[in-house]
Symmetry: C5
């Protein structure tokens, strides 16, 4: 299957509010976790049924429902009904192959973004689509599989006096997006370290391993850029959106998201240039080494050519070839050969051909 | 004929409202199909005469007239009169070589876009111009030849409770354009799969077949981009248009079209970069293989050069050449040759020239 | 003289309203042709004197004065006086080397654009500067030499019922610019056909003729782009201009000009990319052919090297060289040589070096 | 010293209103020339002291003070006081290394632009910073050294009936800037002619002289672009500025400056592309010639290889080598050699290797 | 650690108002210096405790607090409390790895920019993050370590009559940023001088030292651009900001900052192009030298090939080889060899292969 885009023939012409999961199923069960808090109170729970959320929803507190696993259309439908959302919104959530985007609906905002996570063991990068639905009192976050990426936010919520406890839904959104973008920066910095380490190897020992690594990093970077570049567009749209769900005071934080995502973009541009420079340096080094070898070998051959020619002349069988009959001819010939060889060596050295 | 642009000398200076078909005739007969529906009723029909549409037109329902085949000026003129459109609009419809565009007229909007379809059997991509005329109660779609690309939309209309039944003309327009853009994404994903498959072949077995494939894919991608890039511009213009024919509520769907066409553009950009990287990798691999061969051959020749030279010396016919007369000279010479050859081999190995 | 820009030292510091012809004189006499029409009446005439135009000017009809030849300052001055234009405007008309531009004056609009025409016989492209002055009742078009490029428009005017007869000055302007841009598209399509034809030759028979053709087409395309790119800018400025001389109803046509000139730009971009791809393919093909030849020759030489060496050994004159005296030595040597040669051939074949 | 930027360590942290000359002193004395005119009167004078300007300043006429030489801080200070300008403005004038820019102050506009002049004798291009201060009744122009570049404007002023006599300060500014931009176009056209002449040499006789010329022109063009590109930005800012010092009627002329500077930019872009194409053509031609030589030499060597091998065989000293003893062996061998050589020649010719 | 971005895993999910130093500690102690001035008075002091600043803060004068060293969270917290700033602002100050940015808070503006300084001894460039907090009466500048870069501004403040004494906080901000940008220009001019010096070496003596230098300068330039490019964005945002803290009269200076930072960007672009041109020239020169050597060696070998062949023929042992028995055969053969060699030399010379 193509890595960059997956579009099945059967997806063409689907109604936009069809609750059909378009992606690769990454989780078995759907997990519903809730955190409900305000400045003074805090409740954490794992829900069995969607409708259990109702008791939290009606309170005046901030309710954060985290849904891990998107493939269950029935649960999605229930969520839509419980929170009075259009099915269209949930259909968008299930469409995990789409671009990062922010859409304003009548009673909610939908944010969709790719989440990149460095897997410290396998050295691979996991990609997952994160969707956030933002209403006036509820934030619903959808992840494709169970993950602990938002644990630091939960920790901050658990500590009573933190800003997040009184920042409201829009500040919570910022906190989640901030983690996503911080992960972009982290993933880039891990890749960047590998790229910069490569540089020393490049000059000392340029071989096919190095070129393969460069090409791999290039492909990996291209892959990251596919998520990061449209995320920038999305974040800038969000920060410019004049929505009732976002308080004036939170915009300064959204501005910070803009700065961070811009930095991620610039860093990825820089690494791209570095990789392209490294490729050039690699090719230059390789071809310069090859040229040196070829020049050496050619010079070596060229020195023997006149010598072999001279030997050839005295190998002829002419009846009258006076030199053949002198006593020291052979040694003189050897001497002349040495002189010629040395002369050529000196000449080549002087011209820096050796 | 040029693939990228066809402009006949005789087309220069035509009046913009000349009902002259400018393109390649792809159908024999003109086929008129109608679907007329609202939330409760649904009628489907194939019309013999344009004027048969009148009974549908006057009703308050959504009337969708699909015209397959554009070459018949008489029918076009009849359509113009029946729906009270300027002939200019129909002339635009017949101008299938023009760019994707959206034009707002007094009593209608004209949308023109290239439709790309993957032919699953021939592995070719069909291009066709689709025009949509949008008035307050009627949508007329024009295709160059008979096709079933909009069948999923008809299916959705036939099912009673779908959103499309009460979405109005502008929602129907969205549904049609959505299919067109979904087809872009599908065509790109099919091409993309081929491109990504190529990658493995590239390193294992780089040959002229591979380079031709890369160049073919490049040409194919260029061709797709010619349709997709101006379509993006057109979709963005449409989504920003403040027209009476487009309801506020539908803009959220037009926004989705924007996201999808942007994704198509980005994906095509990505594949372009990948192809260009692949070309580079191909050339690097090929030239590195060639260099290895040449280096091997050169080293091989170079080893024989001093050996042949020594044989040449003892092939000379000097009267006084003492070595010729010793008992083991020949074997000593052979031994010396072996030593020289081995010495050079070791030297070349050490310097990684072999 | 430089093809891309001609600026004489003596032109520096000229006053902008100096009626001095800055260009290459392309016509001998100035030809004044007039068409005066409205929905019902039509008069066509060739004027001897500028002032003869007065009788048409005063009528309420559309008056189109076509001036072929720009070098006569006296006539220009007369035109300025007759139509009450600033001399500045006419000076601009005479400045044929300037960029395509549209300028709004108090009582007129000046449009200046490069006209490209394919000469079907010489296969060359003629470039000429077209200027149009647009007042409320008069359109004056200035061409550098006599031409029949606007004949189709005249034909449309002569037919009574065409839109052009009641479209007014601004519609007439559209009709003229439409012809200019149609000619761009035609010129591009002629060049494009040549470029696309080249493609087949490229792989079958890459030689210096092909590379020269590619470089010629590249230069020709660059030359076209020099006219087409600023024309796009000009057309977009014109279409955005809110002028009293342009009726609301005509803007839809100016929009069409925008689409056509954009298409011309995109097509020229595409051909540029194609040419650049063709250059790459050419170089790849050439160098791959060369590499094959060189590899073949090298392999050929390498096979003879050990054989020649063996012959050299048995050409030595050692007194004690046992093999020389056996009965079948010579034939055994020949046999060994054949075995070696075949062995190397097989080795090279297996490694795909041949 | 760096050509592209000169920034001394001691300049860091200077106050912006320090009257310190930052540049290379190009004149010895400061020359003050004045032209004072209106529609009817005209006075020209060379001033000894700045304060002599006062009698002109108070009149209602246009006063143009031209200052040649910027290094004298005392005179600058006097000018500031006489015309009631902030010292900041004059400090900017003395900062000749800065970018072209236009700044609006309370009582004046400052325009700073690089002036390029072709030196017809030395074939070099002189660069000089021109500053213009524009108040309601006075225009002060500052040149780094004495020059006659504005002589055509003075000539036009001297002739009584020219537009410039009643155009006011803003029109005079236009006239001066027009000369600067005309000089850009002239310098570009001189360089362009050289570049286009190069083209023929390129194919006929590609050698190191040509490549050096291309690199020189490239460097020269880069140098020109450094002045022309920011000048475009400056001119566009000026033309968009809504200042009390610029009359409505003059904007049409500033629009013309925009067109001319845009043309200069486009021309410089074109020449850049041409130079880059020329470099490519040069390299292609060179490498194709080299390849032909190498192929010829290799083919030549290869033909002799089997011949030398055959001679080697019959040079062996086997006791039993039957061919050696036949009467015509030698001539048959020669014949076989000719046949082999001809056969190879034919083969190579057929494969177009020769 | 990666040079271009450092993002620790532990930083992910930090609250934006955590006072945690994110960077490399460059100073041991925190140094607090204060300058308090207005047009008439001036006080300079080094503070022991943050709260000592209070007596200055309450006065109506301009108070500039300079903080060297950012790692001490306690001091930061104290500063926040003393000046009534949100901890968020100080957290931003401590986040030295972030992008240059300007943020408007309720009661202050935060400016963050990278400061580049040429170290004259080590020829290295120091990078340091500078943050400026701007309130209505206080400017707090934060540097990562103790430095004297702002000494010229202090000098100007110490002199009584300078503009800076009555320019206010916003003018002081300008003065500091001006020094930062002047340093950009200085650093670029030092690098530029080295790059331009390289040019002569490039043609005379192209070797690996040169290529390494080019690659080093390229890397260094990339590094500078990483600071300068986002700084431009920041400066332009600042200059467009409509803030109560920035007086109308100061905008003209901010405009100057825009010009200077634009110049820095353009200069860096120019040097980038120059470096890339130099790389091309280097490769061209190197490969042209190599080609000359290879051509010479090949021609040399080729001349000996027919000569050796002739010698080979007369080395054969045929019984009947008439030439062997003529008296002058040997000398004739030598003569023929000379003629062949000379003939080939002439031929090669004529074809310019030598």
């Amino acid at each position: 299957m193509a890595r960059f885009i997956k579009k099945g023939k059967q997806e063409i012409g689907l109604s936009p509010d069809d609750l059909k999961f378009r992606g690769k199923k990454k989780a078995n069960e759907v997990l519903l976790r809730i955190i409900d808090f305000d400045e003074t109170s805090l409740e954490e729970d794992a829900l069995q049924l969607v409708r259990d959320v109702l008791k939290y929803k009606e309170k005046d507190t901030v309710t954060w429902l985290n849904v891990d696993g998107l493939h269950n259309a029935a649960i999605m439908k229930e969520i839509a009904e419980t929170f009075d959302l259009e099915t269209l919104v949930l259909a968008e959530v299930m469409h995990t192959q789409a671009r990062p985007r922010v859409i304003e609906y009548d009673n909610c905002i939908l944010i969709s973004i790719k989440m990149l996570q460095q897997n410290e063991e396998s050295h691979l990068i996991n990609v997952e689509n994160l969707s956030i639905i933002l209403t006036d009192t509820v934030l619903i976050s959808f992840q494709e599989k169970r993950g602990d990426v938002f644990e630091p936010v939960r920790e901050r919520i658990r500590k009573q006096k933190r800003r997040i406890r009184h920042g409201g839904i829009d500040y919570l959104t910022f906190a989640l997006l901030d983690i996503v973008i911080d992960n972009y920066l982290y993933v880039l910095s891990v890749l960047g370290e590998k790229i910069e380490t490569l540089e020393d190897n490049l000059l000392l020992n340029p071989n096919e391993v190095v070129i393969n690594e460069i090409n791999n990093y290039k492909r990996e970077l291209n892959f990251l850029r596919k998520s990061i570049k449209p995320a920038k567009e999305m974040i800038f749209t969000l920060a410019k959106m004049e929505s009732e769900f976002i308080k004036e005071a939170t915009y300064v934080h959204y501005k910070e998201l803009e700065d961070n995502i811009s930095q991620a973009n610039e860093v990825s541009d820089s690494y791209r240039e570095i990789l392209s420079d490294q490729l050039n340096i690699y090719h230059t080094t390789i071809s310069s080494k090859l040229n040196d070898v070829m020049k050496f070998l050619t010079v070596f051959s060229v020195i023997f050519i006149p010598l072999t020619f001279i030997a050839g002349i005295y190998g002829t069988n002419f009846d009258f070839l006076p030199e053949l009959h002198y006593r020291y001819s052979y040694f003189i010939m050897l001497g002349v050969m040495v002189v010629i060889a040395l002369g050529m060596l000196v000449y080549f050295k002087r011209n820096k051909w050796l």
